[in-house]
Symmetry: D2
Subunit: 235 residues, 4 copies
């Protein structure tokens, strides 16, 4: 059974030759050969992977900007997308609440702490119904969608196409898979990473929380799972 | 009497020598002289203005990126900030609904078409009260603010510090002062432009809707105030 | 016979479904349907093209950011790449003069006004030989490549992998295909556009000089081929 | 005596109230109070510093983007500016070699390994003279500056106005003060940092090489002064 209370993510676009393009970019910096020759002369996946991994580990992230991927995202709350669109190296096309009128009950996401308590959950669902009625009242009174939406809650579901390059995706994963990130955006970003890793498994080690990548935590209020950098440096 | 149903904007930071810095940048491109000498040798406002205006008119906008200004913004709806933060060349620090709990009735903005109808307005105000009660119910039941906020509406007021350079401010004004932009963001951007123009009046001609700057309209659904470019070119 | 005095450009990476991805992004903004359903339900090229063209014409360029393309570029001068890398929405991986030592005569580009005059051309070629000798002298004296390169000229050929999204490519074409742009970067950008148009012919109308797109010229020193906007607006 | 073989840097523009603006931005995220009230109610430098330092240390760098500073830079080589302009979050206005003709001997920078060897240094100076003569020959033959410059070397001095926000300046310092960065760009960035620290000493701890900030080195070829992160994590 599908879980209707979580974001839905599909990878809809990526170049066919991701690793080869990144490998060509890495080699171009240090080679007298033409990039097109580098590109055409290589098909040894293991060799390509070895170089690319060394380059990413050294922090030379510009080489992985050459690859961009696109996701179709739906059933994600407006609270969550207000967070997501703060990532300014991403491109977004989002369902407009100004131009798309809600017909009948709008879709929404139930926050986890409310979802797990049957009484609060029912109270939440009922209230979403009340908001929907109020929205329709305003629409029927002739208020345009762009103004009636003022009553719609943060929980309202929205959709978007979102694109970003590998450098930004790794950055996004490192930040938003942290247990301090809000639950919904963690699920969303996990969905994005999982969809890509299915097709490009070599990316898995980078698409993790920052503490899992670096071995330490730099959050002011750490969850304690990993040591702080100060502790490592002092030891 | 102050209007409580519109965004409040204050200019809190700008460099003292805006025009001189931009002028130095413009001259540096075409001069054999050192920029610091250009900077130190000029105080003729009229001469500086004349060059800067010519450069901006030619579309060489990179020269005005050197100036950044910061605004303190409050009493603006979350619907409006979700639009504003889509401007990716801006910097934002926004009041967090995760970490700042609403105490008592939250502030909100009433959309203009509702505000002008006394019956609908009262209905709107009453419903904001109901939402506030529901939010407090969830908070009192132990739900953390970051999840209780799921019921808060698009109308909820928020605050931010927003910074942007002159190139982006002109772009923002050109787009968002258009009559096709939503009412609230037009008021907000007008507030930003007015606050800056008070101190730097030479910027006034650029901080207008795109049609007022270029003399034509490129919107798919034009308001008709200005001709479409096709009409001008054909004539 | 191949012309060795011009940039070489190959398109090495693009997503297979460019138009469909852009179409899905455009539709997502105005549809109640999920983006993945929009994506899966459309294969009518003509219908997709019609919408995409209308959206681009209205200036809603964010929808075409979802597509990024990568080019392998070689035989382009360092003077030209110093211009190109000023486009800050692009990603670059460039051959390093610090780490890649020139062995024997370095490759170079001959500027057009010199190339067409046999006497000046020979003088230029001879001087490139002298510079090469001087570079090798410094290298043989133990000077590292990163310092010996101080004598290498702007004409020195370099290579890079360059990636950019469609919005930036259209912007790049509009600016750099203008007759006021330097000859070499015009050839380079033309090479990029031609390589893409071969595979995606629907992009051709956008990948032109700005005056060809808009029907007017905004350059301070116009070539006169198109009227200035002021002339159109006044008429 | 002034050293003529190094970049000259002057801070020409910064907002007067840097710390207060950053403090207001930090507080806005976690406060129910209006940003303008936060701004107006604080003048306790120590209190402001304490918060700002905690926020920067936690990696919440967006709060320091609100401050942008501008530098007048001269006597820096074109090799160095080709590196510098790769920082895409900066704004640049650079002396054009297309439009500014070199009259007489062009200025240039002598690389350090050549500068310290009197014989090589003289050879370098002489060759700069030969290049200058060749440039003038082409100019006198009617070749426009934009093409004659093809013979000008990487060592040629240039000028620019460069602006960047504090987040990017810290990033720039962390990368380019590393001993693996090229000598000239290290001097240039050090000049920028020194100029700012003179007026805003609280920024000093951040404007250092990345290893000095984090206590470990992530370079593939480390200078060995600091341990690698792997060593710290394993211990």
């Amino acid at each position: 059974m599908e879980d209707n209370n979580k974001p839905k993510v599909s990878l809809i676009s990526k170049p066919a030759n991701m690793l080869k393009t990144v490998y060509t970019a890495c080699r171009t910096c240090y080679s007298a050969d033409y990039p097109i020759n580098i590109y055409n002369s290589t098909d040894d996946t293991e060799k390509m992977l070895k170089l690319v991994e060394r380059v990413i580990s050294s922090g030379h992230y510009s080489t992985i900007e050459h690859i961009q991927v696109s996701f179709a995202i739906s059933n994600v709350s407006r609270a969550c997308t207000h967070q997501l669109v703060r990532h300014r190296h991403m491109s977004f096309s989002q369902k407009s609440q100004r131009y798309v009128k809600e017909k009948g009950q709008f879709d929404y996401l139930i926050p986890p702490t409310i979802d797990k308590d049957p009484v609060l959950k029912q109270k939440f669902i009922d209230f979403m119904g009340e908001i929907s009625n109020k929205y329709q009242e305003f629409v029927e009174a002739g208020i345009p969608a762009e103004d009636a939406r003022a009553v719609l809650p943060n929980a309202t579901a929205t959709s978007m196409v979102a694109s970003l390059n590998l450098r930004e995706l790794i950055h996004l994963a490192n930040l938003r898979l942290c247990s301090r990130a809000q639950f919904e955006i963690r699920m969303l970003v996990k969905g994005m990473c999982d969809a890509l890793v299915t097709e490009e498994p070599w990316l898995k080690p980078y698409l993790v929380a920052k503490c899992d990548r670096y071995g330490y935590c730099d959050e002011d209020k750490s969850c304690g799972r990993k040591p702080k950098l100060e502790e490592l440096v002092k030891s």
